[in-house]
Symmetry: C2
Subunit: 261 residues, 2 copies
DNA sequence: GCAAATTTGTTCGTATGTATT
DNA sequence: CAATACATACGAACAAATTTG
């Protein structure tokens, strides 16, 4: 009796799922049936199911039953892309998605003028409270919420001529290219920082994530560097961890063909 | 009454935590106290706390109380490193860690001969069931379990002269460099694939993760390519998501100084 | 080192609400 | 509307872990 009963039941069910006895998409026995099968109270059975839910193995639907979750064919994003001022990051990912036979869409751009928070000011080497332009966009693949992105630009870029940053529309052919034209800033490099955390309320709502916060999100910070070594933008993108994967290519890498690994 | 009571209580507690009223490391009111404060049964209070636990906000310790979790100063790993056969990936990360004033240690190497699973065979372009050498190692920082790594090499590399791959010790100055010497394979590129998933039992034990699986792990697949475009290794590394972060540098990026962002 | 007090963990029973078919 | 299945909520008892005296 080392292990509490609800964990034993969870383990047995996990075995039945992983062995394929209860395949993805199939319904588990109802709580009443499990009470009989394992001679436990309904609360204990529910504790077992909750454990499997937190682990992402099953999903309960009120009025229907509890079902084994089906693996999602993940969206793949390549983080080591082209640098040049001539390429739009948006275009790169759009091309990548279209290649996979999926359809990307994006929301309108929401532009705001903000004071730099401590974190943003620190990353962009500004005074806390410095004026910023933030451009926010939501992105979908096949209608499924895919990512939320916000880019912060120092207000000084506007003064240096990049007035279109204030436009609440997409900037063609790309914001990075536009900055090159408008004020001579060329992106010669960027640094990404990848972490995983639990979603906030906003993100849970947008991505339709379960309220218990069991699905984490990727948070990727991208800092862009100009030819002068200046940090001219900070882009933060959030992706739900249950349907995204990232690729990094270093050196000479043959093109990816199928859905390798 | 749109929101159930246990969520309302959880929301209130979240507010008290995020406002700083209950700072990181501090103890929440006991379950009995919360019963009084919010006029709910103990089970309802416990449901509220469970929600915050799944979200990673608090942590309950039997016999002590429930505490606000303290943020961990994360380990940072750079994924875009040096390629050359002259550099050991292990050395790179060791240097990076030492620079942060931390102490890395590694376990012995466990060497096994295995048949390629379907996934591994697919990635390395081998027949399923082909013979493989797997080299497994566990790594720690300041004594904390940090990552588990397994690298798979096609057995053909042994026949081509890389017999040291069978040695159950670290290969100096590095396995990639050794493959260059022993059979002329130079790594000209690699591809990483990053995903997040729930840990298996092994990983939960090694990383001392909570049994409910609320802390996910990063899983990074790295495929190495030789000068002939051959996929000569597959390295899979698993890191707990609650104490790791990854960096990617593209183009010209100034060196990182402090603990930026 | 032991015993008591405190606090969370597990398990049961029961009742009622809500979502779906 | 009825039946089914999960969701919420209360009460109660005992177990296990930890701290304190």
């Amino acid at each position: 009796m080392a292990e509490p009963m609800y964990r034993q039941i969870a383990e047995i069910l996990r075995g039945r799922i992983e062995s394929g006895e209860i395949p993805p998409g199939a319904q588990l026995p109802t709580e009443i049936e499990l009470m009989d099968q394992y001679n436990a109270s309904r609360n204990t059975v529910r504790d077992a199911i909750k454990l499997l839910t937190t682990r992402g193995l099953v999903e309960a639907r009120a009025g229907q039953g509890t079902f084994v979750v089906e693996k999602i064919n993940p969206f793949v994003t390549t983080l080591t892309g082209e640098l040049g001022a001539n390429v739009n990051e948006s275009q790169v990912y759009v091309a990548e998605i279209l290649k996979g036979g999926r359809t990307p869409t994006v929301s309108e751009v929401r532009v705001e003028i903000q004071q730099a928070s401590e974190v943003v000011a620190d990353v962009l080497r500004l005074e806390p409270g410095a004026q910023l332009v933030s451009r926010h966009q939501q992105r979908f693949i096949d209608g499924i919420p895919w990512s939320m992105q916000t880019t912060f630009y120092p207000m000084s870029l506007i003064e240096r001529g990049a007035t279109k940053l204030l436009q609440a529309t997409n900037i063609h052919p790309g914001t990075v290219a536009y900055l090159g034209e408008a004020c001579g800033i060329k992106q010669v490099g960027y640094r990404d920082s990848i972490a995983v955390r639990t979603p906030d309320e906003n993100e849970m709502r947008f991505f339709k994530l379960p309220a218990d916060g069991r699905v984490p999100v990727f948070e990727i910070f991208r800092v862009g560097y100009s030819q002068d070594g200046e940090r001219f933008r900070l882009t933060t993108t959030v992706y739900p961890a249950d349907r995204n994967r990232f690729l990094i290519k270093v050196g000479e890498v043959p093109p990816r063909d199928v859905a390798a690994e």
